[in-house]
């Protein structure tokens, strides 16, 4: 990547085509892109959309789990859940910071979320009805997130890849604490075992859908793979998750709610039944069980916190003014 203009200068058409060709060659050779490097406008926009959606998912994801902090069954579980939810906040912040390097502000991203212009992972629009749901989220949702995020650690955009590496290191505890909760329930009373199975029954398919539409029906995937934003397709990631999770469910003694699930010797992978994409798109369109509640809570947190933001800014300004006076 040589001959890049300083950010802000506008190259003519011929220069732009040359820049784009050089950029494509650079990322195709697994070269990294840093914030001040020249990049196609569509690459920047794609990344802003993807990273901000990812950040929103982390932040909204605190709600279903936060629902159980006060009702965790022991002090140990409560301390763990608090630490996990705090991690999700941290992950949201790493990601917002990565998106900000592309020239979008935190306020713009938050407004887009609250006004419904930005999406977040549909999985967080399902309710957490019992304690077993906290186990299922840690085990299944975080397992799926890890499969997805490990592939993103090699993303061509440096700040996003670095945030992913940090996040993956931290997610491992999330997954393990979830599996531990499920194991305790599965080894417990009949009622506890049923509670674990009920959580499995409700979360399995939404988690399988987390990887997004099948490759044939995923319009942005091909370009994202060409730009090395993504290294693996939705279907490849989904298959990896299923292959690693089926033996774990067997270990727990939980049934997977898919009568068509079976090992395919020829492929060396598990085959699964038909995914109900209508449900997926219905939740994406805002008609899930909790969409309204999730956004309403974000809106309230922003609106009710504005005076705190303003007061802190005013205090900071007062401190700076005092320092200037003392220096004078």
């Amino acid at each position: 990547m040589s001959e890049k203009p300083v950010a802000g200068t506008v190259p003519d058409e011929k220069e732009a085509a040359a820049l784009e060709a050089a950029f494509d060659a650079h990322v195709a050779a697994n070269g990294k892109v840093e914030p001040r490097d020249w990049m196609p406008e569509a690459y920047r926009k794609t990344l802003i959309r993807q990273i901000s959606q990812h950040a929103h998912s982390e932040v909204i994801g605190m709600q279903p789990e936060g629902n159980w902090i006060t009702r965790a069954p022991s002090l140990r579980r409560k301390a763990v859940l608090l630490a996990k939810v705090q991690d999700e906040a941290g992950h949201g912040l790493y990601l917002y910071a990565a998106a900000e390097t592309l020239g979008v502000s935190r306020d713009e991203m938050e407004d887009a979320l609250i006004e419904g212009r930005a999406k977040y992972s549909s999985i967080f629009n399902y309710p957490t009805l019992t304690w077993a749901d906290i186990g299922a989220i840690g085990w299944l949702v975080d397992s799926a997130a890890i499969v997805n995020q490990l592939a993103l650690c090699r993303c061509s955009y440096g700040p996003y890849a670095r945030a992913m590496i940090r996040i993956c290191k931290e997610e491992s505890f999330h997954q393990r604490q979830g599996f531990e909760i499920m194991m305790a329930l599965c080894n417990g009373s009949g009622e506890q075992k049923r509670m674990a199975q009920d959580a499995m029954d409700r979360w399995w398919w939404p988690v399988v859908m987390m990887f997004g539409p099948p490759d044939a029906n995923s319009p942005n995937s091909a370009q994202s793979m060409k730009w090395r934003i993504k290294h693996k397709s939705n279907d490849e990631l989904r298959q990896a998750f299923i292959d690693q999770t089926v033996p774990q469910a067997e270990k727990l003694g939980l049934a997977i709610p898919d009568p068509d699930l079976k090992w395919n010797e020829a492929r060396g992978h598990y085959d699964i039944g038909e995914i109900d994409w209508e449900e997926f798109f219905n939740v994406v369109r805002g008609n899930g069980q909790c969409n309204e509640q999730r956004i309403e809570r974000r809106r309230a947190a922003r609106d009710e916190g504005l005076w705190v933001c303003d007061a802190a800014l005013a205090y900071g300004e007062k401190q700076r003014a005092r320092k200037r006076r003392e220096a004078a």
Binding site: M1, S2, E3, K4, P5, V6, A7, E34, R36, D37, W38, A83, Q86, D87, G90, L93, Y94, A97, A98, E100, T101, G103, S105, R106, D107, E108, E110, D111, R162, A163, E170, L306, C309, D310, A312, L313, Y315, G316, Q319, R320
Partner: protein, 99 residues
């Protein structure tokens, strides 16, 4: 890199962490805060939840002057043809020790 939003956004700080005594501070990411003290607190909460550091620096992002990507050749190419700055440039006999 400051906000274009509703005017409530706190300024941006860059966070640097010394992971242990004897190593240099390394850039970890950025954080919003209304003043430097809050930036330190927020950096602690966001970037060091697992003993990642023994020391933190926070620097207002606006205080950083960065070289432009297009200046790379002008800045760094002059070092390329000065191979005599490297010890391997020099021909010395193999059997002379401590060189």
């Amino acid at each position: 890199m400051t906000g274009k939003g509703g005017g409530h956004e706190w300024p941006l700080y860059e966070v640097f962490i010394r992971s242990r005594q004897g190593l240099n501070h390394v850039h970890a990411g950025s954080i919003h805060a209304s003043d430097p003290e809050m930036a330190l607190q927020n950096a602690r909460d966001v970037y060091t939840r697992r003993n990642e550091g023994v020391s933190l620096w926070v620097v207002p992002s606006t205080a950083i002057t960065a070289s432009a990507p297009c200046d790379r050749e002008a800045l760094f190419d002059p070092a390329g043809d000065k191979v005599y700055r490297h010890p391997t440039f020099y021909d010395v006999p193999d059997d002379v020790e401590h060189l």
